[in-house]
């Protein structure tokens, strides 16, 4: 190494570390190759998910015409929309109360509670929530039906919605709100006309994260959902267990596309900010 230091220009690069670029390329390859295989075989004319014959959109046509998939997609959307709306509203309020204020007693506790769903392993949340709703049903006779799933999703979506909203608030300029106050705007008016419009990108970003997190959940939904309350990931899981055809690949690809679309929008939204 020391001998070649004066010969190759790369050796003069402060940041160069031998082998790191290869490992990084391996890392990206490993992350994308399996997904690429999955997407590739969703276009296979054959029934096989690993032996290519020819290009076809048949499996997409079948998937979209499949009543089970249609119902699961509707359930998924219902749950995700409910969880997104509530989690984002709750998180926005919480972010306003925990950002840009002088430290107050209980702030750390509030912060810990908001982030609690991130710290508990998903399987623990799943069985605890199941126990909770079972207890509600047996002792008080309360059962919200699909509402159980919606509530469970709202809980774990809150911290995901909270993070970007909080980040946005922290980077926001205080002077505009001070100017509004100087011009005799009431606190509510200042909030409505100045703070909220400035906060919108953060709220949208938070809502998008909440939406994909809800759309992707498997374990908690599986435990909490009653019979007939099948979301798209639960449907896919059932199909995988039963033996796969490229139809599963097709549904998976559609779900992947939705996630990627949201992540891309989220990313662009974040970039415009900085």
């Amino acid at each position: 190494m020391a001998d070649t230091a004066h010969r190759t220009p790369r050796a003069l690069d402060l940041k160069y570390q031998p082998g790191f670029t290869s490992v990084a390329m391996l890392c990206f390859f490993v992350l994308y190759a399996p997904i690429a295989v999955l997407v590739f075989f969703s276009f296979n004319a054959n029934r096989s998910v690993t032996r290519w014959t020819e290009f076809s959109l048949d499996w997409y046509v079948r998937a979209l015409a499949n009543e089970g998939i249609q119902n699961a997609a509707v359930t998924s959307l219902e749950v995700a929309v409910f969880a997104t709306v509530f989690a984002t509203s709750i998180a926005t309020a919480a972010a306003l109360a925990t950002t840009r204020v002088a430290r107050y007693r209980g702030m750390t506790a509030a912060y810990t509670v908001i982030n609690m769903p991130l710290m508990v392993p998903e399987i623990v949340t799943a069985v605890a929530t199941l126990s909770f709703f079972a207890l509600l049903r047996t002792t008080l006779g309360i059962n919200f039906g699909l509402g159980n799933v919606m509530i469970a999703h709202t809980v774990f979506c809150i911290p995901f919605a909270y993070l970007p909203i909080r980040a946005r608030l922290e980077n926001m300029d205080l002077t505009l709100e001070q100017a509004a106050a100087d011009l005799y705007a009431t606190p509510w008016r200042t909030f409505r006309r100045v703070t909220l419009p400035l906060l919108v990108p953060g709220v949208i970003a938070g809502a998008m994260l909440a939406f994909i997190i809800s759309l992707d959940d498997v374990i908690i939904t599986m435990m909490v959902a009653g019979p007939g309350q099948t979301t798209l990931p639960i449907y896919i899981l059932g199909q995988i267990r039963r033996g796969v055809t490229p139809e599963v690949n097709a549904v998976s690809t559609i779900l992947l596309a939705v996630s990627i679309l949201f992540v891309t929008l989220f990313f662009l939204l974040g970039r415009r900010r900085t």
Partner: protein, 316 residues
């Protein structure tokens, strides 16, 4: 009486307004926080206490619980009760599942670190313009569906999977290799699932790295390996610790990965817990196992907080 009551606020008027403003602010704050505290408190934290309660009850015949106090669930974690002779024999079956989960999670954390650190370093040393692109490439798998990503690994490892087909067609294999439904497959699945969780925090730490320190190291005749070990890695430590926690905790409680790649035989804690609430119908035992898992996670979190606190003090 009334005159006195009026007289009592003695301070200058400004402090009264300050106090009422502060009071109003505290009330607004309380109202803003209430929904989050209420929803997470009732539907997130209360259920954990219900699980705790369930772990000390007797199981119902068809799932659920009977309201009779019992420590049977915790006894069952370590011992096997002989129904006829009423004797307890030490049973390591469940301990082994915990131990295997710990090993798999620890191994995959280490592997993620070995792959993730160079990847994060590579990203952090790109020109500022293309950095966004690489971050974007890591962000996509970070947020995409874990079930689908695990399914895609299944497609690669199956007996009829990509690896076996390619190797057979090259004439290197007479019969398919048993890749899937092994500990190897579960480990690989965990690495694949949580690799982005390792890369992003390390990248965040390395992005802020002051390369003048690296230059100073070289000026003092350090080799590249020394610069890496003595300067870069210590400065990236908060990211390394955060990444390790983000990989280790979900790895320890993983359910999808062992379910799809371990084939139900290579059990991990997550599957064992789910099984108790499913076909085994032993809710108290499942709750007890869940709480033990939760305790393991808390230990990991405490180690994390302590480490970050210490490294913060080192550099701050």
């Amino acid at each position: 009486m009334t005159a006195e009551a009026i007289k009592t606020p003695e301070g200058p008027p400004s402090s009264i307004t300050e106090r009422t403003v502060a009071g109003r602010q505290a009330r607004t704050r309380g109202l803003l926080l209430a929904p989050a505290m209420l929803v997470i408190g009732v539907f997130g934290i209360l259920p954990l206490f219900i699980a705790l309660t369930y772990s000390f009850l007797e199981g119902g015949t068809y799932g659920g619980v009977e309201w009779v106090f019992s420590t049977e669930a915790y006894v069952q974690l370590l011992f096997e009760r002989d129904i006829f002779e009423e004797t307890l024999t030490f049973n390591t079956a469940y301990l082994e599942i915990f131990w295997r989960s710990f090993l798999l999670a620890a191994f995959s954390t280490l592997a993620c670190l070995l792959i993730g650190f160079p990847a994060a370093y590579f990203m952090a040393t790109r020109p500022a313009k293309s950095r966004d692109f690489w971050v974007f490439l890591i962000t996509i798998p970070f947020w995409t569906n874990l079930l689908i990503r695990t399914f895609s690994i299944q497609l690669i490892l199956r007996d009829e999977g990509v690896i076996n087909i390619v190797l057979t067609e090259l004439g290197l294999l007479a019969q398919p290799l048993q890749l899937i439904y092994t500990d190897f497959a579960v480990g690989l699945g965990l690495i694949y699932s949580f690799l982005p969780f390792m890369v992003l925090p390390i990248y965040a730490a390395l992005e802020r790295l002051d390369f003048r320190l690296v230059e100073a190291g070289f000026d003092l005749y350090a080799t590249r390996a020394q610069v890496l070990r003595r300067i870069v890695v210590p400065l990236a430590k908060p990211g390394i610790v955060a990444g390790s926690i983000l990989v280790f905790i979900p790895g320890l409680g993983a359910w999808i990965t062992p379910e799809l790649l371990g084939g139900g035989k290579e059990l991990m804690i997550g599957n064992m817990i789910a099984l108790q609430f499913g076909s085994s119908r032993n809710w108290p035992f499942g709750s007890a196992a869940a709480l033990v898992l939760m305790a393991m996670v808390l230990v990991a979190l405490v180690i994390y907080v302590r480490n970050v606190g210490k490294s913060g003090a080192d550099h701050g």
